[in-house]
């Protein structure tokens, strides 16, 4: 059977055919669809966990019980799960365990461009690195066997251009292995010092065995071309090399990024006059080559920043640029922005108007940082708004009192905001936290989470009561506002900032893009009444602009949220056709 699949669907298909029995993940671009595609199958358990650490530990539990399991996350998600990751290397597995991680070179939808290969080296785990959808399928399918054969979790690493590129996949049938029996083994699975000391040498022996396996494994291969130039490449960089050179140079394609095959690399280097290493992000293969006495050309020619393309490579080799249709027009930038009718906008407008310092977080609402609202002061990682505001308040004393908040989405709050709130209550800072509860995980494409009342398959599920949760950890002042009501937002914000104890405002309204959300008819501007004060422009709504000196509302974008209507001092904005 053959089908055009994005890399993530191919990974899911490979894991499925490889006999996966459980997947637990937290969504994160560009990894999300792996778990979404697995959720389409009914003969395995799939779930969204509150965060990546929980997800990996759930997968560990399933593996311990004897079932093949996986978790999937973006690169920064692996930071969250790094704690179980490093010690899972010591315990090894019972049922095969595959850890999928998707890097985002060029940061299409991320806050940094870290290179996950460092995790494989640091945690001493094998890492497979496919370069197209067919390999995503094959490597994912093979990963369970590798995991069980070497008694180790296997990391499957992709990047945006592999995870979100579509290419043909020849696929087969699911083979579900028997569940392995669970046998109590304290020495292997209880990692207290006495046992862990015994396990570390096992890990070192395993790494040596994997390095021998890497020498002639199916994941690495030599493609012989000329003997003048030899290029070592992995992942998507391999595709760009082939695009530029075809079969005219020799290529060592690395599909297993850790451990690397020293013998294979040395043999390859010996057969070519000039050796190059072409890899996105950090010089991982290059540094390994130097460690075994080779001197390849790598990062002296190719950047550690951003993603590559065929152009990167042909420029580096000094090939003539292709003639193109130039344009002298300098197009104004088109950055992403909050949608028309986005429920975050009303609260952000209120924060900007009151000149509040806002420690922000990760999600659609990070877009509150872009002009004209420019309402966010910091964005670091999942949950850092809530933990950070506590430190900011304590350090700033009276300077920050009454004019500083944390903002965090519902899903991010469940991910790692709640621990920060516990800290605020426990260690007593006068912090105000605003939960932007749009009842969905928005930015990654509408995934359910523990506050929505539905599970990954859309079936009814346990639902966290945010108000009760905040009160339970020790916050006495908890109130809910509708962000479409500017007066209510302003009142709540001023009162909670003035209060002499920590507080939580839940700014609650579902994402306007959700299918069940009924939108109102578009609003319009009465040009006779509009006095061009541009107050409505301060919202940064894509539906509102100035046309011929007067405010104008684009009826194809407007969802009638009414926030601009509340702002207009002259009553120029209203429902229906206005003369």
């Amino acid at each position: 059977m053959k089908k055009l699949m994005i890399g993530n669907e191919a990974v899911a298909r490979g894991l499925y055919e490889g006999g996966i029995g459980l997947v637990s993940s937290y969504p994160g671009t560009p990894s999300t669809e792996i778990t979404e595609f697995l959720a389409k199958y009914d003969d395995l358990h799939s779930e969204w966990a509150p965060n990546e650490k929980v997800a990996m530990e759930v997968a560990f539990g399933a593996s311990l019980a004897g079932v093949r399991a996986a978790c999937a996350q973006k690169h920064v998600g692996l930071n969250v799960a790094a704690d179980p990751l490093f010690t899972l290397s010591y315990t090894g597995v019972n049922g095969g365990l595959v850890i999928c991680v998707a890097d985002d070179p060029a940061m299409h939808s991320s806050q940094n461009e870290q290179d996950s290969r460092h995790y494989a080296i640091a945690a001493k785990l094998p890492m497979l690195e496919p370069s197209d959808s067919q390999e995503c399928y094959e490597f994912a399918k093979a990963a369970f066997g590798l995991s069980e054969e070497f008694d180790t979790p296997v990391i499957l690493r992709t990047c945006t251009r592999v995870a979100h590129s579509r290419s043909p996949v020849e696929y087969g049938e699911r083979v579900q292995p028997e569940k392995k029996p669970y046998e109590k083994n304290i020495a292997k699975y209880v990692m207290m010092p006495g046992n862990a000391k015994m396990r570390h040498p096992v890990v070192e022996e395993r790494t040596a065995a994997l390095a021998r396996f890497a020498e002639d494994c199916p994941f690495n291969r030599v493609e012989k071309g000329g003997s003048e130039i030899g290029i070592i490449a992995s992942g998507t960089a391999y595709q760009y090399v082939k695009e530029v050179f075809g079969d005219s140079v020799s290529v060592l394609k690395i599909g297993m990024s850790n451990p690397l095959p020293a013998g294979l690399i040395k043999d390859f280097a010996a057969g070519v006059e000039k050796l190059y290493v072409i890899e996105e992000l950090d010089p991982v293969i290059e540094n390994f080559c130097r460690g075994i006495g080779l001197d390849p050309i790598g990062k002296s020619l190719f950047s550690t920043v951003g993603e590559f393309s065929q152009k990167t490579i042909s420029e580096a080799f000094g090939f003539d640029p292709k003639p193109f249709v130039s344009s002298d027009t300098l197009p104004p930038a088109r950055p992403p922005m909050m949608c028309a009718g986005c429920p975050h906008r009303g609260m952000y407008y209120t924060l900007a108007k009151n000149k509040v310092t806002v420690l922000g977080d990760i999600g659609c609402y990070t877009l509150g940082a872009v002009p004209p609202l420019s309402a966010v002061d910091s964005t670091l990682c999942m949950g850092a708004s809530v933990s950070g505001v506590h430190g900011f308040m304590l350090a700033s004393g009276k300077d920050a009192d009454g004019k500083t908040v944390a903002v965090i989405g519902d899903s991010t709050f469940m991910h790692s905001g709640i621990t920060g709130l516990v800290n605020i209550a426990y260690n007593g800072s006068n912090s105000t936290v605003i939960i932007f509860d749009n009842s969905i995980t928005g930015m990654t494409g509408h995934q359910q989470n523990p506050t929505t009342g539905y599970n990954i398959k859309g079936d009814p599920a346990g639902k966290v009561d945010l108000e009760a949760l905040c009160r339970a950890v020790g916050i006495n002042r908890v109130r809910v506002v509708d962000p479409y009501d500017l007066a209510e937002c302003d009142k709540a914000l001023k009162e909670e900032l003035a209060a002499d104890e920590p507080s939580v405002i839940i700014s609650r309204r579902p994402c306007v893009l959700l299918k069940y959300v009924k939108t109102a008819p578009p609003l319009s501007v009465d040009p006779e009444k509009c006095r061009s004060c541009k107050k409505c422009m301060g919202l940064g709504c894509p539906a509102v602009s100035m046309k011929g000196g007067k405010a104008h509302i684009d009826s194809t974008l407007c969802v009638g949220c009414g926030v601009c209507e509340q702002l207009c001092p002259f009553g120029a904005i209203g429902k229906g056709e206005r003369s």
Binding site: T29, K242, S309, Q310, V325, S327, T329, P336
Partner: protein
């Protein structure tokens, strides 16, 4: 055969993903090797988006770079100017004449540039300008803009008309199939 490179550019949320998926499947069914590269996540929130579709005997890279595109389908006029440097000399650029103001224009920090199409023609692009929004609305829904633009592209390929309409039928929800086929027909038959 040499690889054929098609870029689909526009504003996040305009439906370019459906167009690229449809093309990918169509060329696969024609027996070609195919790669399609998409961008999801933050860039979909009203930002400038680009999708690459490549097909041929053997396709390696999933992306298209400077001077490589045989065709660019631009769902919005300004985006045609932004991505023009990817168009090869003499390459064809199908442009929806619809204007969507980006935030710097909305806030008055920048002006929406004029004369984009004339400039593209002067610089060696073969411009096919189409008011896709009006045609889509004529067919019954503004959402059919993507199908209207695909119909313009279809004219430059030897793939039979029926295969295009079958691909549309396979890609859209059944209740929208006839609407989209109508949009395709109107656009395809414009000289």
């Amino acid at each position: 055969m040499n690889t054929v490179n098609i870029m689909i550019v526009g504003v996040g949320g305009q439906g370019s993903l459906l167009a690229s998926k449809l093309l990918g499947k169509l060329f696969t069914d024609e027996g070609y090797d195919v790669k399609v590269s998409e961008v999801h996540g933050m860039s979909q929130r009203g930002g400038s988006v680009v999708t690459y579709v490549r097909f041929g005997d053997k396709v390696y890279s999933p992306v298209i770079t400077e001077g490589e595109a045989d065709f660019i389908i631009s769902f919005e006029k300004l985006e045609a100017a932004r991505w023009a440097p990817c168009l090869k000399k003499g390459g064809r650029i199908i442009v929806n004449t619809q204007e969507i103001d980006p935030m710097p224009v909305i806030t008055g920090k920048a002006e929406y540039p004029s004369g984009i199409l004339d400039e593209l023609t002067a610089k060696g692009g073969a411009v096919d300008a189409v008011d896709a929004l009006s045609i889509a609305e004529e067919a019954g829904s503004a959402k059919a803009v993507n199908i209207v633009l695909l119909a313009r592209l279809a004219k430059y390929f030897d793939i039979p008309y029926e295969k295009w309409t079958a691909a549309i039928e396979n890609s859209v929800a059944p209740k929208f199939a006839s609407l989209n086929e109508k949009a395709f027909e109107i656009s395809y038959n414009i000289k």
